[in-house]
Symmetry: C2
Subunit: 107 residues, 2 copies
DNA sequence: CAGTTATATAACGAACTTATTATATAACAA
DNA sequence: TTGTTATATAATAAGTTCGTTATATAACTG
């Protein structure tokens, strides 16, 4: 279940966006994900918990490791919200009052 | 200038997403934007300041009013980040190790 | 079994967020 | 000019976030 509040909030953090970008390339363990950052392991564990809570990533258990992977459906849902926005924007792009407002602004 | 941190963070708030959705329909003043919410005017002014700071909205001065409108370029930029993600996801969707990981998960 | 590795959790402080109330300011209307 | 409208700003309280250190736990390794 994706929650837009939580999803956008999760992606507001650059470390978490980097983690998500990394996971787009494929599964990775917590230590692998932590490696590029100057941050302790608990900090990364927390970021992963936030991403998981937002529905953006999934994890499995493999011995002592917890490989993470992206939840593609979540990306799609965020995308849908933006798509709605784009569509509404496009639908109103040529409306007369908008055009007039635009002209007025440029004076 | 859009800042992804600020943009995602701004969109993490449901009030602000509603404001953005409303602005996708066209310009609106602060009071018009505030009307649907059970929230004081200063609270809305702050939300607008956050959206403006994130580069998501633009404002003009019209007498005593400050009509706001969406900055379509900002939407596009967020979109681009997601597009990158989608692309990377797609590029790796058929890689063998991912397929194997998926199979293993389902057992 | 003892030591090590992978990860999680808790406690804590610093910094930030959000809403409120009170108040300021600037433009408009009478 | 005086009152009103549209909006902004400041002070403040409550709640949240983020990173740290310290510690727990469970699975491997020898």
């Amino acid at each position: 279940m994706l929650n837009l509040d939580a999803a956008f909030s999760a992606l507001a953090d650059p470390t978490r966006r980097a983690i998500v970008a990394r996971l787009a390339l494929g599964e990775a363990t917590v230590m692998e994900l932590a490696e590029p950052f100057e941050m302790t392991q608990p900090a990364i564990s927390r970021h992963l918990k936030v991403l998981e809570g937002a529905g953006l990533i999934l994890r499995r258990v493999e011995g002592t490791k917890r490989p993470c992977r992206l939840a593609p459906a979540a990306v799609a849902e965020i995308d849908q919200w933006l798509a709605m926005l784009r569509q509404t924007l496009a639908a109103n792009y040529n409306r007369l009052d908008d055009v007039l407002a635009e002209m007025k602004t440029k004076e």
